[in-house]
């Protein structure tokens, strides 16, 4: 890209136009040949000429109370629902807890042959899984009233997942082609599950982190940043999480299960939910001082030093900075916390 930005404006404009003409890619209003790729680009240009509208879900403040919804179903059914959810890209990233909460919340609905389940253009709230029966998707192209059949669904298939994310008009009409039994979940339930589970998880992690002396100096924002990136790992009983003498670059928290630390074969520590180990690895890669072995099945979450550094900088620097802040603050107020007469009475805890 030659040419300076200090070109005369008119010249810059002309240059831009000339450039636009010389580019090989067909542009919005230029028709070149009729290859498949060009066809695709032309179609794209057509839809791109419209202004895109924003989408939004109902505002969720995170303070709403979420009541778990449980619709009884047998284990076979649950398994079927799970396997269908796993196939969908919107559900693939869910953790076990989230997936199970959704499986529990899914409701059974019935439609008769010929019933319209969802209507193109109307706003929708539900995602559907076909338990029994069959359905067909129909689309009317813009400018034409004729409906065109685009897809057939049979048991084990699903549709309408976009409605779980935000209020957008349905892309197709789906009609029951036989009597149908469907499993349905609506957006507010889905979103409430997602929010409450992620929020719960984050709060848990933040609280875990608060108890780690080495990380006491992190402020809320920094703690939240780390809580966001903790990576879960699962271990079976009697597995080693870290090994004495091994290189250490990860700090671990136990989310579920129990483990113990041994040094030269002797048990030196027991760990349960909320306990942590390996935090010195955030400072340097001194060899591990102990072997940590799981006693039960464990879920641990961890963060490694590089990642910590990328997000917040070196832990040493944070410790140093806080120390300086603290000293400065003390110099200004001339009262050290130890000398302060008493801490102010806490306000009544909000319930």
């Amino acid at each position: 890209m030659s040419g300076g930005r200090d070109l005369a404006i008119g010249a810059a404009d002309r240059k831009l136009k000339a450039k636009a003409k010389s580019i090989s890619m067909p542009r919005a209003n230029i028709t070149l040949n009729h290859g498949g790729k060009d066809q695709k680009q032309r179609e794209r240009s057509k839809t791109l000429s419209f202004r895109r509208t924003g989408v939004s879900a109902e505002v969720f403040t995170g303070k709403e109370k979420f009541e778990k919804k449980v619709v009884e179903k047998n284990e076979d059914t649950k398994m079927r629902i799970r396997s269908i959810l796993w196939k969908n890209c919107l559900f693939q990233h869910l953790d076990t807890e989230q997936l199970e909460t959704i499986v529990d919340a899914v409701e059974e609905v019935h439609f008769n042959e010929g019933d319209v389940i969802i209507t193109q253009g109307e706003s929708g709230d539900n995602f559907y899984i076909i338990e029994m029966g069959a359905a067909e998707a129909w689309i009317s192209k813009p400018g034409s009233k004729r409906l065109e059949k685009v897809k057939q669904y049979s048991s084990g298939e699903s549709f309408g997942e976009l409605a779980l994310l935000h209020n957008a008009p349905r892309a197709a009409t789906v009609k029951a082609s036989t009597d149908c039994v469907l499993w349905a979940v609506d957006r507010s339930t889905f979103r409430a599950i997602m929010m409450s589970t992620t929020q719960h998880k984050r709060e848990t992690y933040e609280n875990f982190l608060k108890d780690v002396p080495l990380l006491k100096t992190l402020n809320n924002y920094e703690r939240a940043t780390i809580a966001d990136v903790l990576e879960p790992e699962y271990f079976d009983p009697q597995q080693n999480i870290i090994v004495e003498g091994g290189k250490g670059d990860k700090f671990y928290l136990i989310e579920e299960g129990e483990a113990e630390a041994r040094t030269q074969g002797k048990v030196v520590m027991q760990y349960k939910r909320g306990d942590y180990f390996g935090e010195l690895a955030l400072l340097n890669d001194a060899p591990r001082a102990a072997t940590v072995t799981t006693l039960t099945r464990c879920k641990v979450v961890s963060v490694n030093r590089d990642l910590f550094k990328r997000l917040l900088g070196r832990l040493e620097d944070i410790l140093q900075r806080k120390k300086e802040d603290y000293e400065k603050m003390n110099a200004e107020t001339a009262v050290s916390p130890a000398n302060a007469p008493f801490s102010p009475p806490k306000a009544e805890a909000a319930v």
Binding site: M1, R5, D6, L7, I9, G10, A12, D13, L16, K17, K19, A20, I23, M25, R27, A28, E43, R44, S45, T47, L48, S49, R51, R52, T53, G54, V55, S56, A57, E58, V59, F60, T61, G62, C89, L90, H93, E161, L162, L165, N167, A168, A171, R191, M194, M195, T198, Q199, R202, N220, Y221, A224, D228, V229, L307, K309, R310, L311, L312, G313
Partner: protein, 370 residues
């Protein structure tokens, strides 16, 4: 304040972002050209503001744009013998209520009221009647950036960099006040008479404490963490910034698909296909912005926005010059007067605004503390 607005020259040059404010930010970052000390609540001190304008004093001109809850008109505010050219954004209270977006409207007004930045559209005031909330905005007469991008097809790297740099400084300014924008796209960028950017439409902007949860934005520009309902924060704006650079250079967005679900699948897949003409450094920058892993997306890591500003793709950019609008914009709108609306599409055949229902006194109460 009143006089200050009227005293402004054409194109709403506004309080010129002179050196003094640029200097204010210098103690923060050596290369930072954005003042960061504007986070005090309430409007910035020097901001021009109309107190309680009367809706009857606005003479409406042509429609400039329409949105999901209302439309924007060119308007002349004429109390007594004065005249202020402005744009009025009228939002239907009925549709705001129906789609449960009241809080977004309040956020839009509240946030715009506090902002004062060269590349962000200025809010002069607001008023309301039974049917609508009206925001009185600076009229930016060069038209929509979207129109220029689509009619040109795509921009060269120079042009793209020029506009990307103005957006970047705006995001640095917003994030410095813990505001996330959440709806970056060419449709929400206007050009002033000289060809500089003004970001408009703060309907999804939000003051955040760490993170927020409401899914909103435009499908092509949504970051993976928004689609996955993981809770999101400032990094979503840097993701969208990567999408914008891609779209300016390519002429189409990186995760383009016929329907939103297809777009989401592409966003979650993490695959990027670059057209052959992208420079190596452009590709590298985009790859570092369009990364799902929040520990790798630049803009909000330890290095902050400096990591983007010092990226090789911006090597030729002098950030102080960007802030002070010293470089000649590559696009030059053709405007003949302050209230020239010829750069905007013609909406004259548009039917008058419809309101879905009449609000009850209860409904009106929701808007009392606007």
């Amino acid at each position: 304040m009143f006089n200050k607005i009227f005293a402004q020259g054409p194109q709403g040059a506004g309080a010129s972002p002179g050196k003094s404010r640029s200097d204010a930010g210098k103690d923060q970052h050596a290369t930072s050209s954005v003042p960061r000390n504007l986070s005090t609540p309430g409007s910035p001190k020097h901001k021009a503001w109309l107190d309680n304008p009367k809706w009857a004093d606005f003479k409406l001109g042509p429609i400039l744009g329409t949105g999901s809850f209302g439309r924007v008109h060119l308007a002349h505010y004429q109390p007594q013998s004065r005249n202020l050219v402005c744009a009025t954004k009228s939002l239907s209270k009925a549709s705001i209520l129906k789609t449960k977006q009241v809080i977004h409207v309040k956020q839009e007004k509240g946030i715009l009221q506090r902002l004062d930045f060269p590349f962000i559209v200025n809010l002069f005031g607001y008023c309301q009647d039974d049917k609508c909330v009206h925001l009185v905005l600076e009229y930016v007469n060069g038209g929509e950036f979207f129109t220029y991008l689509r009619s040109t097809g795509r921009f060269d790297e120079q042009t793209t960099r020029f506009y990307a740099s103005q957006v970047l400084l705006s995001f640095e300014y917003l994030h410095g006040q813990d505001i996330i924008y959440r709806d970056l796209k060419p449709e929400n960028l206007l050009l002033d008479s000289k060809g500089n950017i003004k970001i408009t439409d703060f309907g999804f902007a939000k003051q955040i404490d760490r993170r927020t949860y409401t899914l909103c934005g435009t499908p092509d520009y949504l970051a993976p963490e928004i689609i996955l309902n993981k809770g999101h924060g400032k990094p979503v704006d840097w993701w969208a910034f990567g999408v914008l650079i891609f779209e300016m250079l390519a002429g189409y967005p990186p995760f383009y698909d016929d329907d939103a679900l297809g777009t989401y699948q592409k966003i979650l897949s993490g695959r990027l296909n670059f057209p052959g003409h992208f420079s190596r450094s452009a590709k590298d920058l985009i790859r570092r912005l369009l990364v799902a892993d929040l520990t790798k997306r630049i803009g909000c890591l330890k290095g902050g926005v400096e990591e983007i500003k010092t990226h090789p793709w911006f090597a030729s950019t002098n950030w102080d010059n960007v802030y002070n609008r010293k470089d000649t914009p590559p696009l030059r709108p053709k405007v003949s007067a302050e209230d020239d609306a010829s750069c905007f599409d013609d909406y004259s055949k548009m039917e008058p605004m419809k309101h879905e229902f009449v609000l009850t006194p209860e409904d009106q109460k929701v808007f009392e503390d606007l």
